[in-house]
Subunit: 439 residues, 3 copies
């Protein structure tokens, strides 16, 4: 090797050192560390499960909802589509790996997690909590803040899920309590804490520009909205235990969604100030409230007419929420960019209340062998719960979820204000520019 060669090697080494140094200082590097930590945990704790649940229903459809559904629904902002799609993907890809571990932590055998397709489905479902929270602070939280929140929220969400499912043994097949309400009120807590002392007037000027849709961004948002709507029956029915329970879940969700959709269009037009014009915000979101509202009771014997009624109620509740409640909350310092309170929050609470009502009406005569499929604790043994006890536990699981999520979200949001998470300045909100190389 001659002198020139030596110099070149030195130059290359120099380049590599600079790169390594730069890399160590780049903002998402802690995430690579976390990803490597996940890898190590998988090496230590995870083994392949047997054939059980290899044919679980609804996995692929739920997967579409998480990545296409949530991702595209949030592209409605005119200059935030890259962030909506990109962060949705980044967050969910991180969270599904993390949630699979956190959820299984409560059910390990011999310190081992046996991974099956069902666990993948449950990880997907848990990631929805984080994506709902993302919707509450869409455009106002930085990438690092979102990732920090996601990691905390997943752990808290899995703990709350354990309370709902294993402690209260509450029926929550479509996750309206433990997923939708949880994600929404965690998000509102984050939003409250994140904004801190900022007042609306300070930010008003620039927000006017970017906090809204363009013609095409509202069209791409519809990709997400409609796919969520289409696969919601699969989502709500995925974790049912018998074929008849499965079919009831599909039928009720289908009917509730259809009724909520019709109601949403009617209400959107009725509340318009411009000659009955329809509002895309309602159409993209309130149509889906029927899936949330029926979620936790869809496998129960509620009756087809009741499913339609629940859908009508959900559509009403959601459109009214967008029209009157969201502006009010925003003035109170609880911003909610996507209006997750109207799509996931209130309809989730509605569904939680319905579980208490229908649990109190459940009888062995009507449910037959499905009784213990739907209400795990109402089995026929000596220690079986009464319908009244089950109703109480349903109610408690809702209250606890609301408390854990809102308090957890508020604390997490407060911690997320740390400067090293690079909070956004006012003029950086709702803008892809700060996160992406734009064409």
């Amino acid at each position: 090797m001659d002198a020139n060669g030596g110099v070149q090697v030195e130059l290359e080494l120099h380049k590599i050192l600079i790169m390594a140094f730069t890399f160590a200082n780049m903002k998402y590097t802690p995430l690579l560390v976390f990803q490597i930590l996940l890898m190590v945990l998988y090496f230590i704790f995870v083994k392949y499960g047997g054939e059980d649940d290899h044919n679980i229903r609804g996995f692929e459809d739920t997967h579409v909802m998480i990545f296409i559904g949530f991702g595209f629904l949030m592209t409605f902002l005119k200059k935030y589509s890259y962030s909506a799609l990109g962060f949705n993907w980044f967050l969910a890809a991180l969270v599904i790996q993390w949630a699979l571990l956190c959820q299984s932590f409560y059910h390990m055998k011999d310190n081992t997690i046996y991974v099956t397709k069902k666990l993948l489905l449950e990880a997907d479902i848990m990631s929805a909590t984080v994506l709902i929270t993302f919707g509450a602070v869409l455009g106002v939280a930085s990438g690092l803040q979102l990732l920090f929140i996601a990691i905390i929220e997943t752990a808290v969400g899995c703990f709350n899920f354990w309370l709902v499912a294993d402690v209260f043994k509450a029926a929550d097949v479509g996750g309206s309590i433990a997923i939708h309400a949880f994600g929404a009120y965690f998000g509102l807590g984050v939003s409250l804490a994140l904004k801190g002392k900022k007042t609306k007037s300070e930010t008003a000027e620039n927000v006017v520009d970017l906090n809204g849709p363009s013609y095409i961004s509202d069209v791409t948002a519809m990709i997400g909205s409609i796919f969520l709507w289409i696969y919601w029956p699969s989502f709500n029915s995925a974790l049912t235990n018998s074929n008849s329970e499965y079919q009831r879940a599909v039928v009720n969700t289908y009917l509730s969604l259809a009724a909520a959709t019709v109601t949403t269009f009617v209400m959107s037009s009725a509340l318009s100030k411009h000659h009955g014009k329809l509002d895309m915000v309602h159409v993209q979101n309130s149509t889906l409230a029927g899936g949330v509202a029926v979620g936790s009771v869809c496998n129960m014997f509620i009756g087809a007419g009741t499913a339609v009624a629940i859908g009508i109620g959900a559509g009403l509740l959601s459109v009214l929420g967008y029209q009157y409640l969201t502006p009010l909350l925003t003035r109170l310092g609880i911003g909610d960019t996507c209006g997750v309170n109207n799509l996931h929050g209130m309809p989730g609470v509605f569904s939680g209340i319905l579980t208490a009502v229908f649990a109190s009406l459940a009888t062995k005569e009507e449910y037959g062998t499905d009784l213990t499929g739907v209400f795990e604790a109402m089995n026929e043994e000596g220690m079986a719960r009464t319908a009244g006890d089950q109703a109480l536990n349903q109610f408690l699981s809702l209250i606890v979820t609301l408390a854990v999520s809102f308090v957890g979200g508020t604390i997490t949001g407060f911690l997320a204000r740390a400067p090293f998470l690079e909070p956004l300045k006012d003029n950086e909100e709702y803008n892809d520019e700060i996160n992406w190389e734009l064409p």
Copy 2:
């Protein structure tokens, strides 16, 4: 409560009264009444079915076709994407609830409808008739007109479906007769009656502007077109009775679609006036004609080569229709915005004729146990139909469908001209502005 409080209550009551009054006068309020009527009918007549058909094939894929497929295909107009997506959703959500009742009306037991996942699938399929009709008058019918037409068409379509399936006992597994041809000629009837005495020249000036695509609207339309294409094998095979019948339906539809697609590209280029350039209208629509043309015969023993031949024929027929027939019909007063005659109408008639041909060739030797699965009335009992009788019934079911749909559509279109359905003025056509709050 002090005086101030009393005044405030009064003010609130006043507000509520105004809101109630306004609401009663809003244009979509009759739809809410209809939605509540549907709820009542579901309470009275609908119960959960047993486990039968809980695992019906093709439901989710068909669901994607109805809501994503039809919805996005119709976004091709530059300034009508919100209406295409919104009304497609509104109409289908209403119709699936209504069609489930109308279809089941002919098969009630003890005045009860036992709802299963299969009934949901059939409701989805029936809603396609309304969406095809929507395509014929896309941009020229008002929202209220569309909703009025949808409610009537569903009832007439279910009656015609009963004629085809239960009276003529015709084979129509993919619905090319009772769904595609029905929807298309109902739509052309509506279009003829709706336009009334308007002449082309009167409207020409403003239509030039909005009755066409933009670069991006043609891309979003491809989302719909390709999803329709992808899931068409699932659609055509969803209601097959045996595994071998199912597999034949999938194979034939797949091959016919592929051949139609190749033929469409070749023909589109060949008929171009600009150096063989391709036309997006053909690509978005004629590619799908292969699915319609093979639809009613796809579960028969037609042979793989014949499936390819049918696809080639469908592509030819459809592109030629777009190029020469649609402009002619428009001049005759039968506008057809999406060219549903070329995608659903003529290929549907083609498929209907093919059913008569292949029914006349059907033998017990070739079909084995599938014979009565494909041709219900050709069972082995004493009263079984001959192949010739079956062919005649196939032909009659086609003729009756054409008559019922076109006459029904024309009458419905005429009724839809009533002023309270707010017919569009010429300068309101193809324009989201009148229906939507635009950004």
Copy 3:
């Protein structure tokens, strides 16, 4: 018939002759001839298979990947979305018909191909090779060149597939060797030969304009990218033989994709020159490299931690490839518009090497009855291969694939320079204008 009538008939005949003459000269007419030839071959050779494989897993999901996934992923260029979607569809619709014959040619019984749903799936999978190659020359090959290349590549690809599967009996369940690496290096071969003596400097000026995305084209590309990502577990697991093998394939692919996604975001930001901004090219493509890299080993007992590790490695490899290797190859005359080398090529080679490693570690104790499902030639009979022999054959199948694909691609690309295939001039590249009627 009077004289006028005679004149009219003559005029009509004249028109038809002109049309026939024009048609015979149109550019895609040879494709219609090929389509008719395919029809004849289907009439002669293809019959319906029995019920076997009628319920094959993953067909519909793979179908979405081929037509929506690949199609929309390639819409990222600002002025080439119609061509990306249109040619993707045209090519795949042609190739699936052709591949079904070419693949089955090696397994005919009594000169007959018995078509089943499984054969449709395999035809879909083979068409991916052509679409990957399309990605390498996106915007720089004419429509006729693409169609010529597709027909040749399919035949060569099926031959190579036969070598891998039937001669070397290599494990390649997700096709990372015979589909991804093959398609990528065939594409680079085509790209090298197609460009010929053109130098970068000649073309630089106009290319700057169109060889890049717009804000909305990057959003539509995400539709393709995310659907590919979502259904990759279905793709990799579609051809597994047992339920436990299937579940392993799904789990490993899911974990590898998730880890690759997180890694891609981190690396994209780390390598950015602008304060850690993310690059859509990486996000749309390198996220998927995890699916390719784990593809050929996903049904083996690699362990969940290893699946995560493979994903991390794939993300690293792919982003580094986009950043440093693609510009270098372009300067060497091997253009690669979509960077297929970084998404399909190198991750495919990575996966091929992994197959040799994991084959060498395979034991009857660990695999149980899955051993011969995964490694066909390692059965228990006297002539069974040892793990070492299997590893060697895995390695050979990779080497042979690389050689056949690159040499085959280079020859095909050279032949595709024939003038009658209408090669593009420099100023016609990356432009829908020459192929499409634009609004």
